[in-house]
């Protein structure tokens, strides 16, 4: 039973990671790449760690795995957010087929303040 | 004999440094701690030497772990003598710093770092473990970096870049050598290495390892062609710092070479020949360099290089005679070079320049002071019967008997050039009339110094001058100690037995 669980969890996790890796190579712009990978990998890692927890089965390992998963789930979206916003105001363009860019012109170029106003600039491209 | 006393010179410096770090905002207290601490340090070191003389080699197994499993600290006569000389020089530098180091530098940790440097030096002299030697080297390197750059003046920074890069390179080579040695012998204790390296059948690999050590230590001791960092940096920091560097740091490299090449690596004719050639070229290069410099401190820097050659001779000529001469020379050199850089600091203080073409009139203004300064200057030359003269007898003898004509000629060349260079310094700095003295930015007449400042400048120079005079007039005693050291180094059996009592028993 445990073995099957390990097999299932690890396979699923590995596939998610592989998928994220492929997506990371394939996706046309940075935002999409971040978007694809952050969670897929996070999920993948969670599954991998879960299989380890199943394997060892001890209370301390399980709690440790839970702690790691918690950390990863806490930090990786924050990291994605940081990289994403930095990419935006260093001027990395969106993929040419992108439909909207509501952020355009909202960053003050010198102070990096982000405004919340709904200007006309948000029109579709 | 086992004794905790072995580690006390190291720990004491640590304690001083920690106490000073706690009094970070109180430079006055730091100054007092430094001087009084170093006075006690001299007593401790003397005690250690006495004990070693009375009881033979002392050891201290850190953590109570028997060698070779733990780190063992060993004090044979060589270590104890070097610790004592370091402590005396340290006391002098500590006194000299009081006036020579501006308070701004003291507010940024000058004193604790200096004491950690001394701790590092003592640790390096006392350790019996090759990797532990490496970590002491690192403590010395990092503290010397910091002392070199503290204040961040432009020339200091420029010098530091080179000093830093090449010294780190040296450490890395040293570390690589340790890795290889561990891979071959599986141990780090030097006495144990002595036994195990001897048993390695692949002598070729042992030789390669020895070469790695040679280059690593060679950079530290500034031998040809590895010395570049020294003339690029030693003239840049304040005099008190340069004094520690000039007196002690290169000698540490020589110490390490002497230790490793007498204990761990056995005679290898190729390395011996190489060492003789390197020693000769080091002497020549240093001498030629000293001849053309115009900055007093650069002159002294090149003389350091030149005289390192004298000590390296002993590594090429593996005889007790040569080692005796080298060790004697080392003892003298530490004291005198430390003193010389302090002298340069005093000269700078009253003349506002290091440049030989602008220095001058010192004799005219300060005849008595000049006489005092003449002692280290002419001791360095080795005008008999001053301290630099005595070791040369053994060195020349060893050079002629075992080293061949090349090294003998180099030694003679170095001797003559040193005489010329110092005579030139005397003529240009002391005799030549000074020009435009009061117009210089840092200029101040000696009589305008406060009494405290005068004492703080003069005492350390006088102290070390007195020590070098003692070395000179008790040359036979120093010689006897050097002979004892040489015999201990050349016959490491006793060392090994003391460090590894069980193993040696097994072997017999």
């Amino acid at each position: 039973m445990n073995e099957l669980l390990i097999l299932g969890l690890s396979t699923l996790g590995a596939l998610f990671i592989l998928l994220a890796a492929i997506g990371f190579v394939k996706m046309p712009d940075i935002y999409l790449r971040i978007s694809v990978t952050t969670k897929a990998v996070t999920l993948g890692i969670g599954l991998m760690l879960a299989s380890a927890a199943v394997h060892f089965g001890t209370e301390s390992i399980v709690s440790r795995v839970l702690a790691i998963v918690f950390f990863v789930f806490l930090t990786s979206p924050v990291g994605a957010h940081l990289i994403g916003r930095v990419s935006y105001f260093t001027g990395i363009p969106l993929w040419k087929n992108s439909l909207h860019d509501d952020l355009k012109g909202k960053y003050n170029p010198t102070t990096h303040k982000l405004s919340s106003s709904e200007t006309t600039d948000e029109s579709d491209r | 004999m086992t004794s905790n006393l072995v580690i006390v010179p190291v720990l004491w410096q640590f304690l001083i440094a920690v106490a000073q770090m706690f009094s970070w905002f109180n430079p006055r207290l730091q100054r007092k701690l430094s001087v009084s601490g170093n006075v006690i340090q001299v007593l401790i070191a003397s005690w250690l030497l006495t004990e070693v003389y009375r009881q033979g080699i002392l050891t201290m197994n850190a953590g109570k772990w028997p060698a070779p499993f733990g780190i063992v600290f060993v004090s044979d006569t060589f270590s104890a003598v070097l610790v004592l000389i370091t402590s005396i020089s340290g006391l002098a530098v500590s006194l000299f710093s009081l006036a020579n180091i501006v308070e701004a530098r003291m507010r940024f940790g000058y004193f604790p770092i200096m004491h950690l440097l001394f701790a590092g030096l003592n640790g390096a002299f006392l350790t019996g473990d090759i990797f532990n030697l490496y970590v002491w080297f690192e403590i010395i390197i990092i503290s010397s970096f910091v002392l070199l750059t503290i204040g961040g003046e432009k020339p200091q920074l420029e010098g530091a870049v080179k000093y830093f890069t090449l010294n780190i390179l040296a450490s890395t080579i040293f570390l690589t050598a340790i890795g290889v040695l561990y891979g071959l012998a599986g141990t780090l204790n030097m006495a144990d290495l002595a036994l195990k390296v001897a048993a390695i059948p692949n002598k070729g690999l042992v030789e390669v390892t020895a070469i790695l050590f040679l280059v690593g230590f060679g950079i530290k001791s500034a031998i040809f062609p590895l010395y570049f960092w020294l003339p690029a940096s030693y003239h840049t920091p304040p005099a008190a710092i340069a004094a520690i560097f000039g007196g002690l740091l290169t000698k540490l490299g020589v110490y390490a070479m002497l230790r490793v090449f007498t204990l761990v690596f056995f005679e290898d004719p190729i390395i011996d020949t190489l060492m003789i050639i390197l020693a000769g070229l080091t002497i020549i290069t240093g001498s030629l360099g000293a001849m053309v410099q115009t900055n007093v401190r650069k002159i002294f820097s090149y003389l350091i290089i030149s005289h390192i050659g004298y000590m390296v001779i002993a590594l090429g000529i593996h005889t007790e005679l040569a080692v005796t001469g080298a060790v004697f020379y080392m003892i003298h050199d530490i004291v005198v070079k430390t003193n010389l850089f302090m002298v340069s600091g005093l000269l700078y203080r009253v003349q506002g320049t290091h440049h030989i073409d602008r220095l001058g009139g010192f004799y005219q203004y300060y005849p008595r002071l000049s006489l005092l300064l003449a002692i280290p200057l002419f001791s360095l030359v080795g005008v008999p019967p001053l301290s630099g003269f005595w070791p040369k007898i053994d060195l020349f003898k060893a050079a002629y008997l075992e080293g061949g004509s090349f090294i003998t000629i180099c030694l003679a060349f170095g001797t003559v050039i040193t005489l010329l260079v110092i005579a030139r310094v005397w003529a240009e700095v002391f005799w030549r009339p000074a020009e435009n003295l009061p117009e210089r930015p840092n200029f101040r007449f000696w009589h305008l110094f406060t009494l405290a400042e005068k004492i703080q400048y003069i005492t350390p120079i006088a102290l070390l001058s007195a020590v070098s005079l003692i070395i000179a007039f008790r040359a036979a005693d120093v010689h006897r100690i050097s002979q004892k050291i040489a015999s201990e180094l050349m016959n490491p059996k006793n060392y090994i037995q003391t460090v590894l009592p069980d193993k040696s028993a097994e072997q017999q």
């Binding site: - | 780190i71 940024f108 840049t236 053309v292 040359a475 010689h479």
Partner: protein, 775 residues
């Protein structure tokens, strides 16, 4: 020979060191002494003179030893025989006169006591030198004479020429000094000690040994440089920058004769060498003729005397070279002769200079009117200089001619001696006669009569010249003792005024006649001297040229190595390492790989290593700094993973956390930098790449070779067994860090602390202008 013990020994030590003690006294108390105090100083050499005159008869050489550096074979080993006694008496005797003379000569001079300090130090050095019977002791005092001479020549240090002359003198004599030291060491390798007596006893062994023969040449170097023999002679005329009493004492009567002294002392050992005679005769001969001729080109009294001194030193070496009874007797007599007349002439010159403020012979005349006594003394000294009968100089010249005549079948030696005598005659008259007796009127008037302090020493010396000239037997005993000491032979020396009408007598007459003609015909002029000096092949010019070429070469050599380029330094060091290791590999290591000891490669290991390799190359080629830093991050992860795979969890953790911190550091520092530079040319890059590749290859091969070797796991087994049982920890690495090898960790955290303090100081400390060390 009786060996002195106890009190006698210490008496000798005190006698030698008395001058030094006076010197020390002056250093300490000079500021508290009144000018007139120096009137008593002459008592010091006088006491020494008395000591040597009274306590050492010529019959018995006396030996003694005060042990000093026990174990190094260096003792105050002394020996007073005829040779050293004559020198000791000269040193202390002339010293007495010079001390007395200087008291008045330097009256009111602000540096008078410094002067006396060096002068008395010199006396100690010279006395020590002549009584030493220990080679190292001899060397020590020898060097001390050079050093005190350096300080005395540089007495007028504010004068550039004085400093230059002092340096030049020290260079040449220092060179010889090193020769002497090495010679002493070489001798000791044969005889086993530094004792001169041992050298004498084992002279056959020494002569037969290589060391002994090399030592000979080094001794010769020492003697020739000290005694200013051609081509090392040029330092002596420059030394005349020193005050006149110094010239009298050091550079004429005593110190310069130290070389001759050494030759005489070595005579019993080395005169057996076939090269001895031709070498000394040639060098001495050339020196005496060449310098005597040069003396006539000058108008400065001191310069003339300097060159005649050089010539006299040449004569002494020449005579020592001839050797045998005749040569030695002549040499011994001439030492005394020369000391008496030359010291007198120097002192006379000093008086003239002191009173008339010039020493130019062309500007001086008729001084007999203002200083009659001095004039007479000068004339007597000049006569002795010229070898005129009834002066001691005549005896000296006779003996010289005689030994030159008998030295060789060839006429060259006697011709050289004759020419020298002729030239010296004229030169002596220029100095001792012409300023006083030419012209009707005195060229200068005096405000005061010449002080007796100045006159008396001159009279003593001229009296000596006359007494020994008329009664040569008075000097016989001293000369005899010297010859006996040097020749180790008991012969009877007989000095006589009248030898009959022989060749030598006629040569003497011819010398006087020719000398008078020469003196009356030649007009003193500086022009020739200047021309000679300008010629680039004069010794000074060659020396200066040599110096400047040496300096240029040194500069070139130093600059090539220390050129300021860090990468050149790195490259040199690495190429040096590569060469050595390469050579060692080539001759000592058999390169092979034992595949049994190599583990298999799995895919994931390979990929991780591939990641490492790619990131390394990426770092090498990265165009942007930040990308390089990011690649360092990748490298760090790969290394961490490798550590995980190979069972080093602590390492993996540490490596990773450190890498993270390093990234943060870089990030904090890098963002204000200019563009990442990439300036090297392709050629340079290829060169560097080749070196780097070889270096990497060396490391790889080294690793593989070491892996082949058997493993010794004694230490790690101990840790594995005892980590828990004794050290109570299960993570062996951590137990090593905090317990087994805790001392390493203690140091390691200290390193970190210092680094942090350094960073803090480096970034925060801003020195004010007045706190800076650099101009």
């Amino acid at each position: 020979m009786p060996l002195e013990t106890g009190f006698g020994n210490y008496m000798m030590l005190i006698a030698v060191l008395l001058g030094g003690m006076l010197s020390l006294f002056l250093v300490i108390f000079k500021d508290y002494l009144r000018d007139g105090f120096s009137a008593f100083f002459f008592l010091v050499p006088l006491a020494v003179f008395t000591y040597f005159a009274v306590f050492f008869g010529s019959e018995v050489p006396a030996l003694g030893l005060v042990s000093w550096q026990q174990g190094m074979g260096v003792h105050f080993e002394w020996r007073v025989d005829g040779l050293s006694r004559m020198f000791a008496l000269l040193i202390s005797g002339i010293g007495t006169l010079v001390f007395a003379y200087s008291h008045y000569y330097l009256k009111g001079h602000p540096e008078k006591f410094r002067f006396f300090g060096f002068l008395s130090l010199f006396m100690t050095a010279m006395l020590g030198l002549v009584v030493s019977d220990n080679l190292i002791m001899l060397f020590m005092f020898w060097e001390l004479t050079s050093v005190s001479s350096f300080f005395l020549i540089g007495f007028h240090y504010e004068d550039r020429e004085s400093r230059k002359a002092a340096l030049r003198a020290l260079t040449i004599t220092g060179l010889g000094g090193v020769g002497l030291l090495i010679a002493a060491v070489l001798i000791s390798t044969v005889t086993g000690s530094f004792s001169f007596q041992a050298l004498l006893d084992q002279r056959e062994t020494v002569l037969a040994s290589q060391a002994g023969r090399i030592a000979f040449w080094l001794f010769i170097l020492a003697a020739f440089t000290k005694s200013a023999q051609f081509p090392f002679h040029f330092w002596l005329p420059g030394a005349m920058k020193a005050p006149t009493p110094v010239s009298t004492y050091l550079h004429s009567a005593t110190m310069v004769k130290a070389g001759v002294f050494l030759l005489l002392k070595l005579y019993p050992i080395y005169s057996a060498l076939p090269v001895w005679k031709p070498l000394l005769m040639t060098v001495g001969g050339v020196s005496m003729v060449y310098s005597a001729a040069q003396a006539l080109f000058f108008t400065d009294m001191k310069s003339i005397l300097a060159y005649t001194t050089l010539s006299a030193l040449g004569i002494l070496v020449f005579l020592t070279g001839i050797g045998g009874n005749e040569g030695l007797v002549a040499a011994a007599a001439f030492i005394l002769v020369h000391a008496l007349y030359k010291a007198a002439l120097f002192l006379v010159t000093g008086i003239v200079d002191h009173e008339a403020h010039t020493r130019d012979v062309t500007a001086l005349h008729g001084l007999r009117h203002v200083m009659p006594g001095v004039a007479v003394a000068g004339a007597v000294a000049a006569l002795s200089h010229g070898g005129v009968p009834l002066t001691f100089g005549f005896i000296g010249k006779e003996l010289m001619y005689e030994s030159a005549l008998h030295a060789e079948t060839s006429p060259v030696p006697i011709a050289a001696a004759f020419i020298t005598g002729l030239l010296l005659f004229a030169a002596g008259f220029w100095v001792g006669f012409r300023p006083f007796f030419s012209g009707r009127e005195a060229s200068h008037t005096l405000k005061h009569p010449v002080s007796l302090w100045l006159q008396l020493p001159v009279y003593v010396l001229t009296a000596g010249t006359l007494i020994f000239g008329i009664w040569p037997a008075g000097a016989e005993q001293m000369v005899h003792a010297l010859v006996e000491a040097a020749g180790r032979d008991t012969i009877k020396v007989h000095l006589e005024l009248w030898h009959g009408f022989n060749t030598v007598f006629f040569l003497s007459l011819a010398t006087i006649a020719g000398g008078i003609v020469l003196y009356s015909r030649l007009v003193p002029g500086q022009s020739i001297a200047l021309k000679v000096e300008k010629l680039s092949y004069s010794s000074v010019a060659i020396y200066e040229k040599f110096l400047s070429v040496t300096k240029w070469l040194s500069r070139w050599y130093t600059d090539i190595l220390q050129n300021g380029y860090l990468r050149w330094y790195v490259m040199t060091i690495m190429v040096f390492l590569l060469t050595l290791v390469g050579y060692s590999f080539y001759h000592g290591v058999h390169i092979y790989i034992d595949f049994k000891k190599i583990s298999e490669v799995t895919l994931y290991e390979a990929v991780i290593l591939l990641l490492m390799i790619f990131s390394i190359f990426y770092i090498l080629l990265a165009k942007s700094r930040l990308a390089a830093v990011a690649a360092m991050g990748v490298l760090g992860i790969s290394i961490s993973l490798m550590f995980v795979l190979y069972s080093a969890p602590d390492l993996a953790m540490t490596q990773f956390s450190i890498d993270t911190l390093t990234v943060i550091l870089f990030v904090l520092v890098l963002y204000k930098l200019p563009r990442y530079i990439n300036i090297s040319s392709n050629v340079v890059k290829i060169r560097d790449a080749v070196i780097s590749l070889l270096f990497g290859l060396m490391i790889t091969v080294l690793c593989l070779e070491v892996i082949n070797e058997p493993v010794n796991r004694e230490i790690s087994e101990f840790y594995a067994e005892n980590s828990y049982l004794l050290a109570k920890g299960k993570n062996v690495v951590n137990v090593i860090l905090v317990d087994f090898r805790g001392a390493d960790t203690m140091v390691e955290i200290t390193v970190l602390t210092i680094a942090a303090l350094g960073v803090f100081g480096l970034m925060k400390l801003r020195l004010k202008d007045n706190e800076k060390t650099w101009e």
